[in-house]
């Protein structure tokens, strides 16, 4: 059996195990656990697609919240029935074609992804004319502009009131299905010649250009793919929390995503998955610090907002002292895992980079 075939088989096996575990949670888990697992899957989708732009291409893009917003609103507007929309839009009615459009969940997710991609395409020209800090601030600006527009276009987004009472379509199968699909597709992209070109641009744009790599084309590809999956994840998020409003998609969301991929290791898909999973789990575990603690005699009052303090300190500590994060630029591989378990002297050192 060739190594490639063995790895493929192991991956299929791994996915089967993952879904069996999810099935067990579906049967025996509490609502709270299922909720965290859903969150985790959506964060993984978001972090992996965000890492494609920030980690693999090495540009600091600060506007994924714009894509998520576009995806969430598109998908939500498509799954709401005409009657629900009429009931929601009390200040100003929804404009015509949107008010009667209705689509199944899966179509709405795809539409969310496609519209986010379209939006990314529209902004790509000004975004990729600049690099570095400028690119960061321009993408941050687009994120803000989208938020302002969401508040202002009441006939489309219902303004600050947001959309309420969405059907809770998102379940473990949808969220984890999308997450696994995202990981597979983005890993395939990274390992293709396009992905190598992206890494070349990250390491030295001038040298890459000299080798005949067109930076704009490759960065655009990464940007669009990232936007598509962020949009889909936005749709999933909307149908998980069932209420969306512009305040949900601020720079905070971007900050959290940035933290996940930095802690996991910028440039590593495995790292992005680990970072997202840790964030979803750790975020819940850290609720302890925001709740009052009873030490028998002394009662320490809970401090709301303490989690964000811990997260920002964590981000700075990682970036100052351990810039490579958990994984650096390394990826998980079955080779490495087998090496860990076998006692052969060749194992252990065969970490794929």
């Amino acid at each position: 059996m060739s190594k490639a075939r063995r790895d493929q088989l192991l991956s299929v096996l791994g996915i089967l195990v993952l879904f069996s575990v999810l099935y067990l949670f579906q049967l025996f888990g509490t609502d709270y656990q299922i909720r965290i697992l859903n969150n985790m899957a959506i964060f993984i989708t978001l972090a992996v697609s965000y890492n494609l732009v920030n980690g693999i291409c090495g540009i600091l893009h600060l506007g994924p919240n714009a894509f998520i917003t576009v995806g969430a609103y598109t998908s939500a507007l498509l799954t709401m029935s005409a009657a629900e929309k009429q009931a929601s839009f009390i200040i100003e009615p929804l404009i015509w074609p949107l008010s009667v459009l209705h689509a199944p969940f899966v179509v709405s997710l795809l539409a969310g992804g496609i519209l986010a991609t379209l939006f990314a395409y529209l902004i790509s020209y000004p975004v990729f004319r600049v690099r570095g800090d400028y690119l960061a601030i321009v993408t941050l600006g687009f994120g803000e502009v989208v938020r302002v527009l969401c508040n202002a276009f009441q006939t489309v987004t219902n303004g600050p009131l947001g959309l309420k009472g969405l059907q809770p379509h998102t379940n473990l199968w949808w969220s984890w299905g999308v997450a696994v699909l995202t990981i597979i597709l983005i890993t395939k992209l990274i390992n293709s010649s396009y992905g190598r070109a992206m890494k070349a641009i990250r390491d030295d744009e001038t040298a890459a250009r000299a080798m005949g790599v067109d930076p704009f084309r490759h960065l655009l590809l990464a940007f669009l793919v990232s936007a598509f999956f962020s949009g889909v994840a936005g749709g999933l998020l909307a149908h998980l929390i069932t209420t969306i409003s512009p305040t949900l998609f601020t720079f905070f969301l971007t900050f959290n995503l940035l933290m996940m991929i930095v802690v996991g290791g910028l440039g590593s898909t495995t790292g992005a998955v680990l970072g997202a999973a840790l964030f979803a789990w750790g975020g819940e575990a850290l609720r302890v610090v925001e709740n009052p603690i009873n030490l028998g005699v002394i009662r320490i009052p809970g401090i709301p907002g303490m989690r964000m303090v811990i997260f920002s300190i964590l981000l700075m500590v990682v970036i100052v002292f351990a810039r490579r994060g958990i994984m650096g630029r390394k990826e998980f591989s079955w080779e490495w895992l087998i090496g860990k378990f076998s006692k052969s002297p060749t194992g252990g050192s065969s970490v794929a980079s």
């Binding site: 800090d133 941050l140 527009l149 907002g305 303090v309 300190i313």
Partner: protein, 297 residues
């Protein structure tokens, strides 16, 4: 629109613009030397405002003691920020530095949220600034008139430091070339610390006037003025102090006047600055006064 209202808005625009200018100077100075957008710069406004509030409320200092103290403390915070978040990353890739800056900004905001709480606090505006005076039939607050004057005075002081002192010369040298500056026997870390001190103090002055103008102090009050001031710095040509001031005035005036002339655009006010930024970067990335950007990495 009637002329009185127009002139009233014009004065208001100049006043807001001068605040953007004060904050923009700090961005532009730090960017000139470190090529870093100091994301935490806007939060210094918030810090200064709280420092002044506590100086007055807890230590019951008069405002003319509390305000300069707040400016000094904020300047010191700027130095600490550089020491903790930026200096360890001098040789790191730029993206790390930016991420550290974003982390520092969130840390300041959320520390304030945890320690002080999210409920907005009123700012104790001294009566001297609250008076309403009459200029040729226009009723304006004294503060609105003082703000641009104070800004110009501070700017003159800063220009003196940058262009007429040894430290200023070192700063200008560092913004041209790091390595050569070091070779000339200049203590670069000290120069950078002084840059942060000056920039942060100016931001603090801006923050105090901002808090007197909009007396609702909360942990996130610095975010938008900060971002807009940065945009003003880009508009004027980043790295250039005079450019930052011109950019600040233009942005403030534009923002106020657009809303005054077309009231329907009021809800898009916060997007205006970003659209300006995108247009500037599309058509003239070096800004109004900017020289071609030198890539120092």
């Amino acid at each position: 629109m009637d002329a009185t209202i127009f002139f009233q808005q014009l004065i208001n625009g100049v006043s807001v613009g001068s605040l953007y200018a004060l904050v923009a100077i700090g961005y532009t100075m730090v960017y000139g030397i470190l090529r870093l957008i100091n994301f935490a710069h806007g939060d210094l406004l918030m810090f200064a405002a709280y420092a002044a509030i506590y100086g007055i409320a807890i230590f019951s200092l008069p405002w003319y003691v509390s305000f300069p103290l707040a400016v000094l403390i904020t300047g010191a915070l700027g130095i600490i920020l550089d020491r903790v978040a930026y200096r360890p990353l001098r040789d790191a890739p730029r993206i790390s530095l930016l991420i550290s800056a974003i982390g520092a900004s969130f840390l300041l905001e959320n520390l304030a949220l945890v320690i002080i709480g999210g409920v907005p606090k009123g700012f104790p505006r001294p009566d001297v600034f609250g008076k309403v005076i009459d200029i040729w039939g226009l009723r304006v607050q004294v503060l609105t008139v003082y703000t641009p004057i104070i800004t110009l005075l501070l700017l003159m002081g800063l220009l003196y430091v940058v262009y007429r002192t040894k430290v200023g010369k070192a700063m200008r040298a560092a913004s041209k070339d790091f390595e050569t500056t070091r070779l000339m026997g200049i203590n670069l870390d000290r120069v950078i610390a002084i840059t942060f001190l000056l920039g942060s103090s100016l931001a603090a002055a801006g923050g105090l006037m901002w808090a007197m103008k909009y007396p609702q102090v909360n942990p996130f009050m610095g975010v938008f003025p900060g971002l807009k001031a940065f945009i003003a710095a880009v508009l004027g040509g980043i790295g250039n102090i005079i450019g930052a001031v011109i950019g600040g005035f233009l942005l403030g005036l534009g923002e106020i006047l657009i809303v005054a002339l077309v009231p329907g655009l009021a809800q898009y006010k916060d997007a205006f600055a970003f659209i300006v930024l995108i247009l500037v970067l599309l058509f003239r990335p070096t800004g109004i006064m900017g020289e071609p950007i030198i890539d120092k990495s």
